[in-house]
């Protein structure tokens, strides 16, 4: 009966969202989709809609896909609490390989999205500060100028990297026969960028040798994290070429961040 509601003509009630009363989050086992469905406005009976049926089991992606424009098809990927996210962030800093186990049952996209967004902002802001401080050491009468194009570059590079590299590896892994899950790859690469956040704070220091040490350490940690997790993910099949290339790509990103933003 609940499914019929979504096909009623209700476009005249644009902007209103049905209320959902009960929201039982019992340990994450029963998943209820958010009924905030932008395409399907509340039905003519007054908008009351009982909570969506709980989904059990693991692979929710195929069963709960209501189309690319419906919010509820993406909510399974944001089904995390604050403490879970913090735990994953900490795990990403120490390149231990149980990260793959942690995200296996519940890969989330919250982390990658907001880590990359924070990184874009920090690179743009701190990159400007750092470039200014460095130039001031050489030419004392330089004037502070906020270069807005840093925001454009940071957005393109970070979002492009975090989106495109996992997709490329997904296709490569499928090609060599390894069964890959794009969401987990996105999740892992997204969390691997977290270490650049505190290191970009340290990169502001206008001492060139300190900057190089910081970025080499951060790049190495991040690349090691990616390589270890990719190895654990591909699980035995000998794909050293892929793993090494992932490692090198991550390190190249780290170097690019240093060279472009923290001149």
């Amino acid at each position: 009966m609940e499914e019929d509601y979504t096909s009623l003509p209700t476009s005249h009630l644009l902007g209103s969202v049905p209320a959902v009363a009960a929201e039982d989050k019992t340990g994450g086992a029963a998943r209820e989709s958010s009924t905030a469905n932008l395409q399907n406005s509340p039905p003519a009976n007054g908008g009351y809609q009982a909570p969506g049926s709980p989904y059990g089991g693991d692979e929710q992606a195929t069963s709960s896909w209501k189309g690319a424009c419906s919010i509820s098809s993406y909510t399974p990927y944001f089904n995390v609490d604050s403490d879970i996210v913090v735990d994953r962030l900490i795990t990403s800093v120490y390149p231990m390989n149980d990260f793959t186990r942690k995200i296996d049952g519940n890969p989330d996209l919250y982390g990658p999205v907001w880590i990359s967004t924070t990184l874009v902002f920090m690179l743009a802001a701190l990159g400007n500060c750092a470039t200014y401080l460095m130039r001031k050491r050489n030419e004392p009468d330089i004037v502070w100028n906020f270069d807005v194009t840093y925001v454009d570059w940071a957005a393109c590079v970070i979002y492009g990297y975090a989106l495109a590299v996992p997709v490329a590896f997904y296709f490569l892994l499928q090609y060599v026969g390894c069964n890959a899950s794009l969401i987990r790859l996105w999740c892992m690469w997204g969390y691997s960028l977290f270490i650049f956040l505190p290191s970009s704070l340290l990169l502001v220091a206008p001492v060139e040798i300190v900057r190089w040490i910081v970025i080499i350490l951060a790049g190495a940690a991040s690349s090691w994290f990616v390589a270890l997790n990719l190895k654990a993910y591909t699980d035995g099949s000998d794909l050293m070429v892929l793993i090494v290339s992932a490692l090198l790509l991550q390190f190249a990103l780290a170097l690019f961040i240093k060279i472009f933003f923290f001149v």
Partner: protein, 290 residues
Amino acid sequence: MAKMSHGDTIPLHPSSQSDIDEIENLMIAGPANVLPARPPSPPRASIPVSSSPFLPSNLPPPPPSAPAAAYHKAPISASPPDAAYHKAPISASPPAAETSRGGIAADGFGSLPNTLTEPVWDTVKRDLSRIVSNLKLVVFPNPYREDPGKALRDWDLWGPFFFIVFLGLTLSWSASLKKSEVFAVAFAVLAAGAIILTLNVLLLGGHIIFFQSLSLLGYCLFPLDVGAVICMLKDNVIIKIIVVSIALAWSSWAAYPFMSAAVNPRRKALALYPVFLMYISVGFLIIAID
């Protein structure tokens, strides 16, 4: 119509209960003996309060004029409000009765010819007074802050639009180089940011109304607007940092109850962090642009 008794897991806010009682009384007593407290605004789709089943919201009765006409009028009056809005908070806006919308059962959209024939100034004044009342509800301390659903029942998008454009213009004026890029970045960050923040709450399983949330995030930019104007006039970095920090704290304080009430308490930090991120990045833009 089968109303399934689901049992409210979230108890109604006391003010919501009184609203429901008021509406029920008026539905029984009939709309004839209640006069609107102020010239009512044009009708719109009723917006459900987020913590209870769908009920007609607490809006005044639709005036006898077509709803579409009023909205078509509003764009024509876009330029006067831009200048007029600055004095709106100071001038004697329609009396405080505007916050007590005589709750009357929304009896649909009847034939409403009057906004077609009313003077333009009336339309403009009505939109301005709505902006001012929403601003007072959202940004300034008031007794309704604990019930976020009540805070912006009569949401509109004109206020947020003015504030975003004004902030973009102020930043663009302050910049010495690349003025158009600065405006573009500011506008994109704020507009896309509001949409993405709302989507973020919805994806985390929260309960908010999309446009109400956009409206609220736009109104919460008002303190940053004030900060940006002050920073444009005073060029000292220390003063800028102090002013922007105060404006940031004020904006976050305004947005906090709404955002935190919208999601599961275990995910509150996840919903609030992006809000702070956006305001901090805008604050940094204000300080950094010179």
